[in-house]
């Protein structure tokens, strides 16, 4: 059963009543996004059971990520979005864990990696101007 706002969203996103029923209990915007990216409702439901929202399922499909891989990332405390972005960037879990231990959340770390940063220099750079004697730049 949709709320009034969800019903308006469904109409606004061009969903038919059949589509709303087919995609329940996803929100209209999610159903619209899934439809736009040719994601099957069964796939969306299966991934949702693993805690993966529609946007991340679409992204995972685009980068060729499996549910097993997602589960491994989630098991390490990352999100499905982190997993897709890491795959897209060509980085494995161990690397992102290392960045996380140095205080960089995954999407921040992945942006830096894409920009050509090494962990050591990024860590030193973020503390530049904070600690002139370099104590803080050692995460240990």
């Amino acid at each position: 059963m949709l709320t009034d706002e969800e019903l308006r969203d469904a109409v606004g996103f061009g969903l038919t009543p059949d589509e709303v029923r087919t995609w329940a209990p996803f929100y209209p915007l999610e159903a619209y996004w899934a439809k736009k990216h040719h994601l099957a409702p069964e796939t969306a439901r299966l991934w949702a059971e693993h805690g993966v929202p529609i946007r991340d399922t679409v992204k995972a499909a685009a980068v060729g990520l499996t549910l097993n891989e997602i589960d491994r990332w989630v098991g390490e405390g990352f999100t499905a979005a982190d997993a897709s972005e890491a795959k897209e960037t060509g980085v494995d879990i161990a690397q992102v864990v290392a960045w996380r231990q140095a205080g960089f959340i995954a999407p921040d770390a992945l942006q830096l990696i894409r920009d050509g940063w090494e962990l050591g220099e990024a860590t030193a750079a973020r503390y530049a101007g904070v600690d002139r004697y370099g104590v803080s730049s050692d995460p240990a």
Partner: protein
């Protein structure tokens, strides 16, 4: 954290810069329609370009170079004619297409030279919608000016401008930063009122979705659940430089160190009889307290301004430490970098509309939905909470409307 070159990529908006090229693919609001009705010439600095907006006597709007191509005089001191804007220095006359229509001395002494046909001025298209004037600075053909569904909702509309002395991108990052509501607007407001607490309910969960016109962010607080509209509907970070929460807040780059905040607001009105607003009023909101020289902190968007300018004229993202609350900000930056590449490769970036069939009352999700209705128990227009300095005549006009539409005496409606 970003490297310095990446930071500048997001912040530089002049011609031929990557972000300047991206933002030039979208219509930008630059003035209120009523503003040009009141005064037909307005200098406009937009995306580091100095321009002049005018409305000629036959009602056409034009946006042309601020400087006359003759000897560079300032056309904002010119005067409008039946058609076009005339320079006050030697009388050259320009139309909205950039064509020179008249060169008085040249045409007197050398009419055969047809010099006016050989001189042009930079000119950009202007369109009116929702009480605002919009321009497009990109290559032709221009996409369609989006016709959002909220423009058609019943209510009292007003447009508010503020000039914020910082870069546009830190303003737009605020559009996808849910946790700041808890601190900047709720907890700090409590402190400003002298209250000791309790503090606002904490955010416990954030979610982000993409759609054709940007992102939707969802949130759950200690006092809400995933059944609440804050999660089920969410709020829109409208691509590329707007926040939509039932009202619009565009962050329009004046140049790399200044942003024009353009707010478009709709107040629900009582009753259900048709209501057409002949003129959408506009006003300029001050950002500094003239007595103290400090930023005004009494209203929601003023509080946002304080956060933005506090980050520096251009936020130094080489020195930031991003946390879990910044996932939306990082998501938006990544999308910006992707879209810079799209434009560089000759593509149409996210959110541009070219199909006229699809550009009718385009839907945007909003908590509370459409149509906007007056909350139960409300018997007069609420105080305007967003920006400081709302003029008394707008307060009065809204109260008068309430009195007329609710059938109560003007005194009861607060007039």
């Amino acid at each position: 954290m970003l490297s310095e070159d990446k930071n500048l990529l997001l912040c530089q908006t002049g011609p031929a810069t990557p972000m300047g090229e991206l933002l030039r693919r979208y219509w930008q609001p630059i003035a209120a329609v009523a503003e040009l009705d009141d005064r037909p010439i307005k200098p406009v600095r937009l995306l580091c370009e100095d321009l002049v907006l005018y409305k000629d006597r036959q009602g056409s709007h034009g946006l042309i170079d601020l400087h006359c191509p003759h000897r560079r005089a300032d056309l904002s001191y010119g005067f409008v004619e039946e058609r076009g804007l005339r320079c006050n220095y030697h009388g050259w006359l320009w139309d909205e297409s950039g064509q020179c229509l008249h060169q008085p001395f040249e045409e007197t002494t050398h009419p055969e030279g047809r010099f006016k046909e050989k001189v042009r001025i930079k000119a950009y298209p202007v369109q009116a919608m929702a009480g605002l004037l919009w321009t497009y600075l990109g290559p032709p053909p221009a996409p369609l000016l989006p016709d959002w569904d909220m423009y058609h909702a019943r209510g009292y509309k007003q447009v508010v401008f503020s000039e914020v002395p910082c870069n546009w991108f830190q303003c737009q990052e605020n559009s996808i930063d849910p946790v700041h509501f808890e601190w900047l607007h709720t907890n700090w407001s409590q402190v400003l009122r002298g209250e000791q607490g309790p503090r606002a309910p904490k955010h416990t969960r954030l979610g982000f979705d993409e759609f054709d016109y940007g992102f939707v962010y969802r949130r759950v607080r200690e006092d809400t659940t995933a059944q609440d509209e804050l999660w089920t509907t969410g709020r829109v970070c409208l691509w590329p430089n707007c926040l939509y929460t039932g009202h619009f807040e565009w962050r329009v780059p004046i140049d790399d160190g200044n942003t024009l905040s353009v707010g478009w607001f709709l107040d629900p009105l009582p009753g259900d009889q048709p209501f057409e607003q002949a003129r959408v009023p506009y006003w300029y909101s001050p950002v500094r307290d003239p007595d103290t020289g400090r930023w005004i902190d009494s209203h929601i968007m003023n509080q946002d301004f304080i956060a933005w300018v506090g980050q520096g004229t251009i936020a130094d993202r080489t020195r930031e430490h991003l946390g879990e609350s910044d996932r939306g900000v990082i998501l938006m930056r990544k999308k910006m970098f992707e879209q810079l590449e799209v434009v560089k490769n000759g593509g149409d970036p996210l959110g541009t509309i070219r199909d006229a069939e699809k550009n009718h009352s385009v839907h945007l999700p909003v908590v509370g939905g459409l149509p906007r209705s007056v909350p139960p128990g409300q018997d007069g227009p609420p105080r305007f909470p967003f920006l400081a300095g709302q003029p008394r005549e707008i307060v009065n006009e809204l109260q008068q409307l309430w009195a007329e539409l609710s059938g109560v005496g003007s005194e009861q409606a607060g007039v």
